[in-house]
């Protein structure tokens, strides 16, 4: 585990702040003050805690998450690749750097059912654009790929993000 992935220790107030904000920020001029009022804290404390959690990586970012389907990205594929274990770290770094790849991970195989150990999510406006993205990954991987599949998402069944209890 690298130094930057050391878990950040949350205190009780951090946990209350997370519970109060994980579903979103309110649409009022001073949203951090509104959250502070709700929790009986000062706005300065709320803002300082959010800033600390942002710097520690507990908060990845504060902002908007679009539903990419609604932005016209209608062809979304989870591409999965069977790469020799010795090659997968280098291959993953190359695939993750491609501009159209939104997530890239090494994951375990479940043999004999599932032989794929490298996952890369790709997103195209249409099937043709996505197919070209898959071809580009295949070109980058070359003979290191021993097989691949593209699992196209057909429906979002749930998308709420992380929830923790207060």
């Amino acid at each position: 585990m690298s130094a930057d992935s050391t878990p950040y220790t949350l205190d009780e107030i951090d946990r209350q702040l997370i519970a109060a904000t994980q579903a979103g920020l309110p649409r009022v001029s001073r949203p951090y003050h509104a959250v502070a009022d709700e929790l009986g804290l000062t706005a300065a404390d709320v803002m300082a805690r959010l800033q600390r959690m942002l710097e520690a990586g507990v908060i990845r970012r504060i902002g908007a998450v679009p539903n990419h389907y609604k932005l016209g990205y209608g062809a979304n594929g989870m591409t999965v690749w069977d790469i020799a274990d010795a090659d997968v770290a280098a291959a993953g770094a190359e695939v993750g750097a491609l501009p159209f790849v939104s997530h890239c991970y090494r994951r375990p195989r479940h043999l004999p059912l599932w032989s794929y150990n490298l996952f890369a999510m790709v997103h195209g406006k249409d099937r043709d654009e996505m197919d070209h993205q898959v071809m580009e990954i295949a070109r980058v991987l070359g003979e290191r790929s021993r097989g691949h599949e593209v699992l196209v998402s057909t429906r979002i069944l749930k998308k709420t993000g992380l929830r923790i209890a207060a």
Binding site: S5, P7, Y8, T9, I18, T21, Q22, G24, L25, R27, V28, R30, P31, Y32, H33, A43, M47, L50, Q51, V58, I59, R60, R61, I62, G63, A64, V65, P66, N67, H68, K70, L71, M78, V88, G92, A93, P99, F100, V101, S102, C104, Y105, R106, R107, P108, W114, L151, V152, S153, T154, R155, I156, L157, K158, K159, T160, G161, L162, R163, I164
Partner: protein
């Protein structure tokens, strides 16, 4: 799902807000000024984008592992005639953060996020007990650099 009808201001809002929302006294006013729109208009447009589902969330994105929690990706092969019922059983668990239908024998793929890492195995066992189906756990072993934003 059809793409939403968005005007230039909506697109600017989506593109800017994916990059971050400030921690300031008046973050909407500060963001509105950068966009060149009134604060009230920015707030009502964000409300509409959320209502229409163009934005799925707006606020802090918490990182499970850095909070001491855990995340995993899991997959199931669900018979077609049971698909919606099983989706309901899986989605009913608050630890299931995302769930996608995918065209494959393994046709349901979901993310489980828990505060305590040992809860992951319990949630998976519970889903197997609820549904009578095998759940294939595929936790990430390594994360490669990512930087994509969706251009609206």
């Amino acid at each position: 799902m059809m793409a939403a009808a968005l005007d230039t201001i909506d697109r600017d809002i989506i593109n800017l807000l994916q990059g971050g929302f400030p921690i300031t006294e008046t973050p909407y006013a500060d963001t509105a000024e950068r966009l060149g729109v009134p604060e009230a208009e920015l707030m009502s447009r964000i409300d509409h984008l959320l209502e229409d589902g163009v934005l799925s969330r707006f606020g802090p994105m918490y990182h499970a592992e850095r909070m001491g929690g855990a995340l995993t990706l899991a997959a199931m092969a669900v018979p077609d005639e049971r698909f919606d019922a099983v989706a309901e059983q899986v989605n009913a668990r608050p630890e299931v953060a995302h769930n996608y239908a995918r065209a494959h024998d393994l046709n349901m793929w979901f993310v489980v996020a828990t505060e305590a890492p040992e809860r992951i195995d319990e949630v998976i066992a519970d889903i197997e007990a609820d549904t009578g189906l095998s759940v294939y756990n595929m936790p990430k072993l390594e994360e490669f650099f990512i930087g994509l934003r969706f251009e609206a």
